[in-house]
């Protein structure tokens, strides 16, 4: 009996380790590539571990002009874009779109609860907006912003992302506002508090952690989105991080693979950290509106 249990738990452990290997190896490889010397990236035999760790791939990405890998000049350096403006665009678009979405979504979720508005019809409509494929959004939006000459403008991306983020924020917040006992807002209104007071002085403070979670998840959606960003932008004036990575990695650039990997690491870090921060709300965030 004991032997059997031991055999089973050993098997479990082995399967677990295989899964860890499968999920972790690509990440290890990305980080390793970003720290390798160019000669180690392309050289044969393959370098699985390296002691020659270098941060020069990152330096190159941020436009460092001094010596890299011990060489002053190397082919193609002048073609390589600098990542900073793309990161700034991503942050700008993500922050504004998520903040506006949070405000509008919070208003709508509160209004729906307070005035018993809409019902399941509104709910289903919002849910259906959430599954809109980006390509369907991209086609008409491109024509509209083109006729307004707002292509390559950060604000056009912010507006388009509202279409995805407002329904999401509303759906998630409706569920949480419903869980707040009605007695609290009733008590406040008897004390002479109007609906604005109830929203800003009672609901908002109570929902603070969820608001943060909604903000972060919306921000991540904006940060990760490639298709619409690629269509509505043309240069570093508005292009976001995924567009940068796609352009960087699509063309074979020889020694720049290390920098492409470094870009991937830099672009993943803020997402990873904020996800860890809101892990508690991740399941309800991912399934917003489908599990009650």
């Amino acid at each position: 009996m004991l032997r059997k249990i031991n055999a089973i738990s050993t098997l479990k452990l082995i399967v677990c380790l295989l899964f860890v290997l499968f999920f972790m190896f690509p990440i290890y490889w990305l980080i390793l590539t970003s720290l390798k010397l160019p000669s180690d990236i392309t050289g044969s035999p393959l370098v699985w571990f390296t002691k020659n760790i270098t941060l020069d791939n990152y330096k190159l990405l941020f436009g460092y002009t001094g010596e890299l890998w011990g060489e002053q000049e190397y082919v193609g350096r002048s073609f390589l874009p600098i990542i900073t403006p793309y990161l700034v665009n991503s942050i700008f678009i993500g922050v504004f779109s998520s903040l506006i979405a949070l405000l509008l979504g919070g208003f709508l979720a509160f209004g729906v609860n307070q005035f018993n508005f809409g019902g399941s019809g509104l709910y289903k409509w919002l849910l259906s907006l959430r599954m809109l494929p980006p390509i369907v959004v991209a086609v008409p939006m491109f024509l509209i912003f083109r006729s307004l000459s707002m292509i390559n403008n950060r604000w056009s991306l912010i507006i388009v992302y509202l279409l995805i983020n407002v329904p999401f924020a509303t759906l998630l917040l409706i569920g949480f506002i419903k869980d707040i006992p009605k007695e609290i807002s009733e008590a406040a209104s008897i004390e002479g508090c109007n609906n604005f007071g109830i929203f800003f002085k009672i609901i908002l403070p109570l929902l603070k952690p969820i608001m943060v979670a909604v903000f972060i998840i919306s921000f991540i959606m904006c940060w990760n989105e490639l298709l619409i960003a690629n269509v509505l932008t043309a240069s570093e004036a508005a292009q976001t991080f995924p567009v940068f990575t796609a352009n960087f990695a699509q063309v074979e650039r020889g020694t720049a693979w290390g920098s492409a990997a470094a870009g991937g690491v830099i672009g993943s870090l803020p997402i990873l950290l904020s996800c860890m921060y809101i892990q508690k709300y991740l399941v309800s965030g991912l399934t917003a509106g489908t599990i009650k």
């Binding site: 479990k12 399967v15 677990c16 899964f19 999920f23 972790m24 190896f25 690509p26 990440i27 490889w29 590539t33 044969s44 393959l46 509008l104 208003f107 509160f110 209004g111 307070q114 005035f115 259906s128 907006l129 599954m131 809109l132 494929p133 980006p134 390509i135 369907v136 959004v137 991209a138 008409p140 491109f142 024509l143 509209i144 279409l163 329904p167 002479g192 109007n194 609906n195 604005f196 940060w223 990760n224 490639l226 298709l227 269509v231 991080f241 995924p242 990575t245 796609a246 990695a249 699509q250 991937g264 993943s268 990873l272 996800c275 860890m276 991740l282 399941v283 991912l286 399934t287 489908t290």
Partner: protein, 304 residues
């Protein structure tokens, strides 16, 4: 006292309510509707027109010609086929692996929490970074081929061979989204009361029977939700094939979103692209309706 009086005099009260309704419901709802109505009008107008960006300034109405053309467009049906294959295989494998993982890690054991946090990292990465990861790994001189060499397997041309390119896209998708199914199933699993398992064990159930008659029926609602969201999202797949294979080789990984993207924004045939996008939208809606039906059915079959 005057404050109370002001709030409760009837006129002011209903005026307040109206202002509140305008702000809390009117403004957000109106902004969403505005964001939808104008683009929808454009969308319908364009998909019934011929509009080549390369040489036309204004769309020309041509009725349903775009839709008729779609039926004889082999590239379109090729992309539908590719999407179908990738979605079916990716989602099924993700579900199988996610279920395995959830059952393995369902009971908290030493180090389980850390392993769980490690497992959900891929899901948190931007999809474009997942594409970049696998571009590095599936390189002809990359680590996978080097690893296979140990077993005497010849290097595989992962991204240059139609079959292997499709497999690479599926593997990348499985890598990124298995964690999604895993954490939803894990949440479902951990909400099953421990007493039920104990009671079943007392009654003599063990191993497979415990799973078949206790765990699985209780897991069905979370499983359908996880599958539903994943299936709908998988149909929209774009980032990974865009970066990894760019639709190649020979259109083997050209998924629906990628083909419509190319037709619309690379070749500039806006009208035709819009028509294809509308067909994709209809297909997705049908899929969603089907899934909602299945969820309702499974909820009825589930444990009450």
């Amino acid at each position: 006292m005057s404050g109370l009086k002001r709030n409760y005099s009837k006129n002011n009260y209903s005026k307040n309510i109206n202002i509140a309704k305008t702000v809390f419901i009117g403004i957000p709802l109106l902004s969403i509707i505005l964001l939808i109505i104008y683009p929808t009008y454009f969308f319908i107008k364009i998909m019934l027109s011929r509009f080549d960006l390369s040489f036309m300034r204004e769309p020309v109405f041509i009725g349903l010609t775009n839709f008729i053309n779609i039926f004889s467009d082999i590239y379109f049906w090729n992309s539908v086929f590719n999407t179908f294959i990738i979605v079916v295989f990716a989602v099924l494998i993700e579900f199988a692996l996610g279920l395995c993982l959830a059952l393995l890690l369902g009971k908290i054991f030493f180090g389980g929490r850390i392993i769980k946090s490690l497992f959900i990292i891929p899901m948190m990465l931007p999809p474009i970074v997942a594409g970049l990861n696998f571009k590095l790994i599936f390189d002809t001189f990359g680590p996978i081929n080097e690893f296979l060499k140990i077993f005497g397997i010849d290097p595989i041309n992962w991204l240059g061979n139609p079959f292997w390119a499709r497999t690479s896209v599926i593997i990348a998708d499985v890598w990124q989204w298995t964690p999604f199914i895993f954490i939803i199933l894990l949440a479902g699993l951990q909400s099953i009361p421990e007493e039920l398992n104990e009671a079943a064990k007392v009654d003599g159930a063990s191993g497979f029977n415990l799973f078949r008659f206790i765990t699985w029926p209780l897991l069905v609602p979370s499983a359908t939700v996880a599958l539903a969201i994943r299936a709908i999202d998988a149909v929209k797949i774009f980032d990974v094939p865009f970066l990894l294979t760019a639709g190649g080789p020979g259109g083997a990984t050209e998924v629906l979103s990628l083909y419509i993207y190319r037709a619309t924004f690379r070749f500039g045939t806006m009208g035709y692209g819009a028509a294809m996008a509308s067909i994709m939208l209809i297909g997705l809606s049908l899929l969603a309706v089907l899934i909602i039906k299945i969820i309702n059915l499974s909820n009825r079959m589930g444990w009450d």
